[in-house]
């Protein structure tokens, strides 16, 4: 076992399937024999409130349920305002995987506070970390509803990035989502995997052109 473990912050807003994402990932790492601690922080906002999951797997017992700022290997976020909240949690060589989806906040909607003047996507890109951005609008697909299954698109992306066995991950998806959503979720997973493949090829060619 080369990988001794990672700390992953999974973020977004209520209703985006963050808990399903961390649940599927936990099944995968359990099969690999890792120790796990997963701590979910769910806000008051009912639908639309911020949700974060601190996901830690390790080949040693995991101590703190919370990932200390500066200790996160990955921030995987389904909403870009939420991505910004966790950038400071990343390690120097940490990786960001963020959707461009944005649910405007009630305080900005009602002008209790001003929105950030800069583009949030650009702020994420400027963080200096290794960054992957997925735009759900650009990846709309008749085979599945990306507004509901962005979590599984991101799971496909993450698995490809980590070089995991897709058959195993798809099997876990099949076993853990309701029957009627299995087909759409597999399409979503394959979409994420394909986006990652294309991104990684592009990044490699960037590097080789330098």
């Amino acid at each position: 076992m080369q990988d001794t473990g990672k700390n992953i912050i999974i973020a977004g807003v209520g209703g985006q399937g963050i808990l399903l994402f961390s649940n599927l990932l936990s099944k995968f790492y359990m099969k690999l024999g890792y120790e796990l601690k997963i701590s979910d922080v769910i806000g008051l906002g009912q639908r639309g409130g911020g949700v974060e999951s601190h996901f830690r797997y390790s080949n040693k017992p995991v101590l703190s349920p919370f990932i200390k700022a500066g200790d996160a290997d990955y921030v995987i976020s389904f909403e870009q305002t939420e991505t910004l909240r966790y950038l400071h949690c990343l390690k120097e060589d940490g990786v960001i995987l963020s959707s461009t989806f944005e649910l405007s906040t009630s305080s900005v909607n009602t002008r209790l506070e001003k929105d950030m003047p800069e583009s949030k996507t650009e702020l994420i890109r400027k963080s200096g970390k290794k960054t992957f951005i997925v735009d759900p609008d650009e990846n709309k697909n008749p085979d599945f509803d990306i507004s509901k299954m962005m979590n599984i698109v991101m799971l496909g992306f993450y698995s490809e990035y980590r070089g995991y066995n897709h058959d195993e991950m798809i099997q876990i998806v099949k076993e853990n989502v309701p029957e009627k959503f299995v087909e759409g979720n597999i399409k979503a997973y394959e979409k994420g995997w394909a986006i990652a493949r294309a991104e990684l090829v592009a990044k490699e060619s960037e590097v080789s052109n330098c």
């Binding site: 701590s39 009912q46 949690c89 405007s104 929105d115 950030m116």
Partner: protein, 592 residues
């Protein structure tokens, strides 16, 4: 070995302890302890009671019958049940009696800052606190043993972090359930009766007097001595520089940030293992207390004459809502790098679900400038500044009595209306209604009948058409109960019939009598009501007056488009097509 969150682990612990009866009232973060107990362990009788006090009383009665019993609530709920707890404290216990109480540290779900351990101090009863799921299951079993051995109710304190953290738990797969039963005492009386006996009949051996007498201070003294040897209190002697006394998840934060520290991890946080504390104090140069919530361990340790550093280094609320590993590192690890969250990220105030009946009520109240009190649960969202519909709001079930108080003080010159959810109404609000009737008040009460306790995830209440012990013939009708109590004017309206609802509220407010408007609409989230076509905003007609935004509906957003221009628009994925926003728009810009 299985993965469980804290709530699941507590439920498993109850099962392995042979609990027979579980009663309580929903409350974040500990609601799911009951849900899991009911789903997974059908041998255990479960009920959501009308409120926490009733739930605890049910458990106390079951315990007196000899069976291990469990009450489940959050700390705010224990305030409601505190009288029952005071009655049970110090009394004779037959079957073990454990109260599982959720402390919402970190105000993750927006609770007030409470700490259940105060009840341990006040009533002199033991409090246990787990650090992870394995601990939660094990301490649950231990709590019942302590309850029976030392004849006392026991509190198991769980926090929002424990409840929502998943980790591995070793369970006995071979375990077969057996309801544990022990009848040791023929009577069990509150301290009022026992202390009267103690004072008047000291030294008496008359069996009628002896039967009533329970020497509870002696039991607690014995527990305080014995707990130095309990394996749930672990002294880990390492380095001599830093020592930490801790409990709950802060134990793991400490272990991670200070791997060389000597640590006393308390499973039993009350009473304290004095010998272990002194042993640690002698071993180290600096002794710290790291505890979530109030400075209760710290004060109790200082009372033993041991000097510790606590809140002088780690100031409590509002500086800190809960411990994190970061806070410990910042204070105790020199040269730790500082990392701060990016500035200017907008915050998220709680918003009602699109199509919620509460939004229809707040719109009407605001339109007619009707002053009103809100209750808790989903209706309290109307108090936040983006909706701004209510001027008074306190605790569960309070709004009816609050408005009555306002109205008698102002000689009923204006009708200060009460809005209350069905959950709050059954919990304690019904007392407020009875009170205003027989005190000849003329308040108007709006009761939101959404057929469940929506805020905590849709648990059943007395007027629900489902539930653990549901039978159609036992369902309570809000209108019938109001009628029986003596309310003069009762109307029931569908929330989405906005004109009828508006007239009903105005008629009730203007009537010179007491009145109830029941607003019916099943909770849109719990019952997954079918959606209608979404509305949209015509950008040419929209003046950005933001009347629609101030409804406080999750589906109405304002943000920059890809061209950089700010637009107000309706999120089609979230809109349920209720049409409320189209009635609010003065420019006819919102349409199907």
């Amino acid at each position: 070995m299985v993965m469980m969150n804290g709530n699941e682990a507590v439920a498993r612990g109850a099962f392995e302890a042979g609990v027979k009866v579980a009663a309580g009232f929903p409350g974040t973060p500990s609601t799911e302890v009951m849900d899991y107990t009911h789903q997974r362990y059908p041998d255990i009788y479960c009920e959501w009671s009308t409120n926490e006090k009733v739930g605890l009383e049910v458990a106390i009665g079951a315990s007196f019958a000899g069976y291990r019993s469990l009450a489940i609530m959050k700390t705010v709920g224990l305030h409601v049940a505190a009288d029952a707890l005071g009655g049970a404290a110090g009394s004779q216990i037959n079957g073990g009696l454990v109260i599982v109480v959720g402390d919402d540290v970190g105000r993750i779900a927006g609770d007030d800052y409470n700490d259940v351990r105060h009840y341990g101090n006040m009533f002199n009863i033991p409090v246990l606190e787990p650090s992870d799921s394995q601990d939660a299951k094990d301490l649950m079993v231990k709590a019942f043993e302590i309850s029976e051995e030392y004849t006392t109710p026991v509190i198991l304190k769980i926090t929002s972090v424990i409840c929502k953290t998943t980790s591995r738990v070793i369970i006995d797969e071979e375990y077969t359930y057996e309801a544990k039963c022990r009848v040791k005492y023929p009577v069990s009386f509150s301290k009022v009766i026992m202390t009267t006996m103690m004072m008047n009949a000291k030294g008496s051996e008359h069996p009628k007097l002896v039967k009533c007498f329970n020497d509870f201070p002696a039991h607690m003294k014995r527990l305080a001595d014995d707990c130095n040897d309990f394996d749930i209190n672990k002294l880990e002697l390492n380095g001599k520089k830093i020592g930490v006394i801790t409990a709950g998840t802060p134990y793991f934060y400490t272990k991670e940030v200070l791997p060389d520290a000597s640590i006393l991890k308390l499973g039993l946080v009350m009473p304290l293992p004095e010998k272990l504390i002194r042993e640690l104090a002698e071993h180290v140069d600096e002794l710290y207390v790291i505890e979530d919530g109030h400075d209760i361990l710290e004060k109790n340790i200082k009372d033993l004459g041991v000097s510790v550093i606590g809140k002088e280094l780690f100031p409590k609320f509002p500086e800190m809502t809960r411990f994190t590993p970061d806070i410990i590192e910042e204070k105790l690890v020199p040269d730790a790098p500082k990392r701060a969250i990016m500035e200017g990220i907008p915050f998220r105030l709680p918003v009602s679900c699109a199509g919620c009946s509460h939004l229809f009520i707040t719109q009407i109240l605001k339109k007619h400038k009707i002053k009103a009190a809100a209750d808790v649960t989903c209706g309290l969202i109307g108090c936040f500044p983006h909706t701004e519909a209510y001027s008074l709001q306190k605790c569960m079930g309070s709004s009816i009595a609050l408005s009555h108080g306002y109205n008698v003080a102002t000689d009923h010159r204006e009708n200060f209306v009460a809005m209350i959810g069905d959950g709050g109404f059954w919990a304690t609000g019904i007392n407020g209604l009875m009170n205003l009737i027989f005190n000849d008040s003329q308040s108007t009460v709006i009761i939101v009948d959404n057929s469940c306790l929506a805020m905590t995830g849709g648990q059943h209440i007395a007027s629900s058409e489902f539930g653990f012990n549901y039978k159609p013939e036992n369902k309570l009708e809000i209108a019938k109960v109001c009628e029986a109590i003596g309310v003069k004017d009762i109307v029931t309206v569908d929330a989405y019939e906005i004109e009828t609802l508006e007239n009903a509220i105005l008629n009730a407010v203007n009537a010179k009598t007491n009145s109830v408007v029941i607003v019916k609409k099943p909770c849109i989230t719990k019952f997954k009501l079918p959606k209608s076509d979404p509305y949209h905003i015509d950008q040419d007609l929209c003046t950005q007056c933001r009347k629609c935004v101030n409804i406080g509906c999750l589906a109405i957003e304002s943000k920059k488009g890809k061209d950089g221009k700010v637009e107000i628009f309706i999120n089609e994925d979230l809109c349920v097509g209720c049409g409320l926003c189209s009635t609010a728009c003065k420019f006819d810009a919102i349409m199907l």
